[in-house]
């Protein structure tokens, strides 16, 4: 089975959703996605960071330096209240979208 390319515009949604479980560093986010999707979604890992920093600029995330369990300095991202709001409305939009697309795909062919 080939890896799924990321649907445009969904990356931010995935990041916000991931962070809604708690603060994580960039690699942590990736690992979480890998686990959750059983490595079906493939992203260019470096592209994660501009995406995170852009969300930070919008005030949806805050970032702070912390220390990992292995005592290494890492930058942790935390979702803000604004980020949660954004996530909720994005989730709604996304499910309406997939729902609609799904219905079209599953509709019986015209005789």
């Amino acid at each position: 089975m080939t890896d799924l390319e990321l649907v445009r515009g969904t990356f931010d949604l995935i990041l916000l959703k991931t962070l809604s479980w708690g603060p994580m560093h960039g690699l942590g986010i990736l690992r979480w996605i890998e686990t959750a999707t059983e490595s079906e979604l493939q992203v260019e890992e470096g592209a994660l960071y501009p995406a995170l920093h852009r969300l930070e600029q919008k005030g949806l995330l805050t970032a702070e330096w912390g220390v990992t369990d292995k005592n290494r300095r890492a930058k942790y991202y935390r979702i803000t209240r604004l980020g949660r709001k954004q996530l909720a409305s994005e989730v709604t939009r996304w499910s309406r979208y997939t729902n609609a697309v799904g219905r079209i795909l599953e509709a019986p062919g015209a005789a």
């Binding site: 690699l27 890992e45 852009r54």
Partner: protein
């Protein structure tokens, strides 16, 4: 996760890249470790991580740009938040003491508003160049002369001078002549008088003017015998012809002849000033409707006739001084080139010179710029006083917060923060004061122009501009900064903190600073009050001058008869005589007089030489050149002028007797100490055949201006003199209607309809009360006086406030000391004396300094003053007394407060 130390964002742009590298490095190293853990070789793991990560550099760049933008956005937001919070804090601070804020605010509004308003006027009248291309290259060419009987005059150029100068002068590119007059125009609507510039065609290249439509006049139009052509001013073209270009090539009908319209001049084109013999009453509203060519025959014949303003454009590199030298040299040839016109005797008798000066100086004269600068100087003084007051108030305020400031400083606030702390407060006040002040100035300008005299050139050009608003805001900003700097000059260190634990008495240096401010304030107030006082005295002197005629209850208006209908002496005489009788018949009218000039407006703007028989001359006696108006019967009666001897009546006119009336001043010059009646005078030379005889003498009258010498004049009774002149001496007359107490202007409608009934083609012009005419002639003096008076009053009030502030502060600072004194037996009187003497000491020092400044500064006012010395003791003494009273008043309330100090309490709080 355990956060040992947290950073939100890298604090500076420089750190952004390093942090990104750290973040990326962490990712990559962790990944490699992870893959090695899963069994890969280090090389394989590294390759895999690199593949997954993608282009390290481009990701880094992208993230870096995002972060930099984020940092900048947040800095801006932070700045805005700080600004808002500091402003809020300042507003709270200011509102906490509304009295202080209100006083400071009003003071600033007055200071900035007045300065901005006067700057606007100064800018429009004096500073801005005249509305011509490269106006600095323009010069006026006139003939200053000292005329027996008329004094120093600026005569205009003659045709002879024009021809000679224009041909020879190398310092100027070109020279033009013009004079101003009026035409009764009948084309395009009702008959009305158009303002006419009669000018040589060179006027257009000299002024660098272009036609809007058609053409301007050219050299051929100036030649004698050329067709009569006219160029319309753009504004007249719009107003009279609705901007219809088809009028070009058509005929413009005027009462005395027809003109072909050849073109329209560019919008806004006007002359810099009226011709030398135009009425002086309305310089300000001067404009041009029509341009017609002045015919000059380069070969003569020439006359000694000087009605023209000369304007020239300097050749490149030439200066007005160089042109002056060249023209002076060229004028020495006058007596050789034009011996019939310019005799040696004439040149010497009249001290006839040529004057080339920068056009702007000629337009404004020496007085207007001086007055304007003086007014601007005085409002600047008010501004300085205002600023000093507010600064003083702020010093007292900041003083009270010294402890607070010292604490902030000790807690690490740097100089910049402290500056921002004070700055937000002073700026808030000064900028809001500035905005309100500028708005007030905008409204004030309109009020100012309403009372402004009409004889200040360029005044209608005054309008509130962005430039003046900019100056106003600039002043406000500078004041704001200066006031914030004051407290920074002081110690706001821990020493101050220590100081302030024991009652916060000001250091000697601070006290000295405050005293200096208040002393200079008083001194400036003295200067202003003295100037205003001098102007007031001068104005009172001027008002008390008896002009020798009575202006009360007299209506003046003018009738201008169309030359085509009233071209003969008989027809115009008949008209005027009939009008006089009809108006005389109106209820309330007691006398009606007619003359060719209006007192205080255009008497003595021109002159004619007056001779007596040659045998009567003594050696070296000068021949005077004086006003020679025509006064028809009723004139002296209407003006309430008593005449010794006989006034020529209509019978004299009908039978052409040669009776004239002269003024006492002229009679005394011609026949000092002798009999005046029956003596012969004339204007046609010493050996003339035609002589007039003196039938009446009028006592001292001032018909030119109140501040001039008694007028020398001959009143002809509409005799043969000048009656053939094409200008139609008797077609344009001023009427003087005296009433029995009925308001003169109430007669306007009935007189207007009388004129209409008699002949609708005769324009009824400019009805006005003679008292207004007299009033207007003093308008410049009263205008200056009113403005100086306002400035001085404001300055006085501000000094009072300033002194009060300082003395109150001193009392509050010395509470402890006063308490000790009282405990040691000082009486209430001693305490009051202590406080009052402090105030008086400051006042006296200020007054002394102010008097010194006044004596030094008011010398420049001499030319503005009438019959008052700049060191007038009455004025100076009054000012001194006034300020001492202010000094006492200012200390009254603080002294009472000091007297009520309870010694025990005062000492306890120490």
């Amino acid at each position: 996760m355990n956060n040992r130390k947290t950073f939100r964002l890298p604090s500076t742009e420089a750190r952004v890249e390093a942090e990104l590298n750290d973040e990326f490095q962490f990712h990559i190293e962790e990944r490699i470790e992870q893959f090695m853990h899963q069994g890969m070789s280090r090389e394989a793991a590294e390759a895999e991580v690199q593949r997954r990560f993608g282009d390290y550099h481009s990701h880094l760049q992208e993230a870096r740009e995002i972060d930099v933008t984020t940092i900048r956005q947040r800095e801006r937001a932070h700045f805005a938040r700080t600004l808002i919070s500091e402003t809020r804090r300042s507003v709270r601070q200011l509102l906490r003491s509304p009295a202080f804020t209100l006083v400071a605010f009003i003071t600033l509004v007055l200071g900035i508003g007045a300065t901005t308003a006067i700057f606007t006027v100064l800018d429009a009248v004096v500073l801005r160049p005249l509305p011509y291309h490269n106006a600095h290259e323009l010069v006026s060419v006139l003939h200053p002369a000292t005329v027996p009987g008329s004094g120093d005059r600026n005569w205009g150029l003659s045709h002879a001078g024009y021809v000679h100068f224009r041909k020879q002068a190398k310092t100027v590119q070109d020279l033009a002549l013009y004079r101003t007059t009026g035409f009764i125009v009948t084309t395009g609507g009702d008959a009305e008088v158009a303002r006419v510039a009669t000018a040589t065609s060179s006027i257009f290249p000299v002024l660098r003017a272009q036609p809007a439509f058609g053409r301007l006049t050219v050299a051929d139009d100036d030649m004698p015998g050329a067709r009569d052509v006219v160029v319309l001013s753009y504004e007249y073209f719009q107003r009279r012809f609705g901007g219809d270009t088809s009028v070009i090539g058509k005929t413009l009908e005027a009462a005395h002849g027809n003109y072909e319209i050849v073109g329209v001049a560019q919008p806004g084109l006007t002359l810099p000033m009226p011709g030398p013999f135009a009425s002086t009453s309305n310089l300000a509203a001067f404009g041009v409707d029509l341009w017609v060519p002045e015919r000059v025959n380069p070969d003569g014949p020439f006359y000694n006739n000087h009605p023209f303003v000369g304007i020239a454009r300097l050749a490149s590199g030439a200066t007005a001084e160089a042109a002056q030298q060249e023209f002076t040299a060229l004028m020495t040839e006058f007596t050789t080139l034009f011996p019939d016109v310019y005799s040696d005797r004439f040149m010497k008798n009249y001290n006839f010179r040529v004057g080339v000066s920068e056009l702007r100086n000629a337009v404004l004269g020496p007085q207007v710029p001086r007055t304007m600068w003086m007014l601007f100087g005085s409002v600047l003084v008010v501004l300085v006083i205002a600023a000093a007051n507010v600064a003083n108030l702020f010093m007292v305020r900041f003083e009270a917060r010294r402890r607070d400031a010292a604490v902030r400083r000790a807690l690490g606030a740097d100089g910049v923060h402290m500056a921002a702390h004070y700055l937000s407060e002073t700026m808030l006040l000064s900028l809001s004061g500035g905005i309100v002040g500028i708005a007030a100035a905008g409204a004030g300008i309109r009020a100012l122009l309403a009372i402004a005299p009409t004889n200040i050139p360029r005044l209608p050009e005054v309008s509130f501009t962005w430039r003046s608003a900019g100056v106003g805001m600039g002043i406000a900003a500078v004041l704001g900064v200066l006031m914030a700097l004051l407290p920074l000059l002081r110690r706001t260190t821990l020493a101050a903190l220590r100081d302030s634990t024991r009652g916060s008495s000001a250091s000697p240096r601070q006290r000295a600073a405050r005293s200096t401010l208040i002393v200079s304030q008083v001194a400036l107030a003295v200067v202003l009050l003295a100037s205003a006082g001098l102007m007031l005295r001068s104005f009172a002197e001027l008002r008390s001058v008896r002009p020798g005629f009575s202006a009360d209850n007299v209506l003046v208006f003018e009738l201008s008869l169309p030359f085509n209908k009233y071209g003969t002496r008989e027809s115009s005489m008949t008209f005027h005589r009939e009008m006089q009788e009809r108006i005389r018949g109106l209820p309330g009218v007691t006398a009606v007089g007619l003359a060719t000039g209006v007192p205080m407006e255009d008497f003595g703007t021109g002159c004619s030489v007056v001779f007596k028989r040659s045998i009567e001359y003594v050696e070296g006696e000068q021949v005077p050149c004086v006003a020679t108006p025509i006064a028809l019967p009723g004139f002296f009666e209407a003006l309430g002028i008593r005449v010794e001897g006989r006034i020529p009546d209509w019978q004299d006119i009908d039978t052409r007797t040669q009776a004239v009336v002269v003024t006492r001043a002229l009679a005394d010059r011609m026949w000092p100490g002798g009999e005046h009646f029956g003596r012969n005078i004339g204007s046609n030379g010493r050996d003339s055949e035609v002589w007039y005889n003196v039938a009446g003498v009028i006592p001292e009258v001032r018909l030119e201006a109140l501040d001039r010498q008694p007028t020398e004049a001959v009143f002809y009774a509409a005799t043969a003199l000048r009656e053939s002149a094409r200008d139609g001496t008797l077609t344009h007359l001023a009427y003087f209607v005296r009433t029995n107490g009925v308001a003169p202007v109430s007669l306007i409608p009935s007189i207007r309809s009388l004129v209409q009934e008699r002949d609708a083609s005769v324009p009824f012009l400019d009805p006005r009360a003679l008292t207004d005419v007299v009033e207007r002639s003093m308008a410049r003096a009263s205008f200056t006086m009113v403005l100086l008076g306002i400035a001085a009053t404001v300055a006085l009030c501000l000094s009072l406030v300033g002194l009060y502030g300082v003395i109150s502060y001193v009392v509050s600072q010395r509470r402890g000391e006063i308490g000790v004194r009282m405990a040691l037996g000082a009486t209430v009187t001693d305490v009051v004396r202590l406080v009052v003497s402090h105030s008086v000491r400051l006042t006296v020092t200020g007054v002394a300094l102010g008097l010194f400044l006044t004596l030094w500064l008011t010398r420049t006012m001499e030319a503005l003053l009438y019959e008052v010395s700049p060191t007038d003791p009455v004025v100076l003494l009054t000012v001194v007394v006034l300020l001492l009273v202010v000094g006492l008043l200012a200390s009254a309330a603080p002294a009472r407060r000091a007297a009520r100090i309870d010694p025990s309490e005062a000492m306890r709080s120490e």
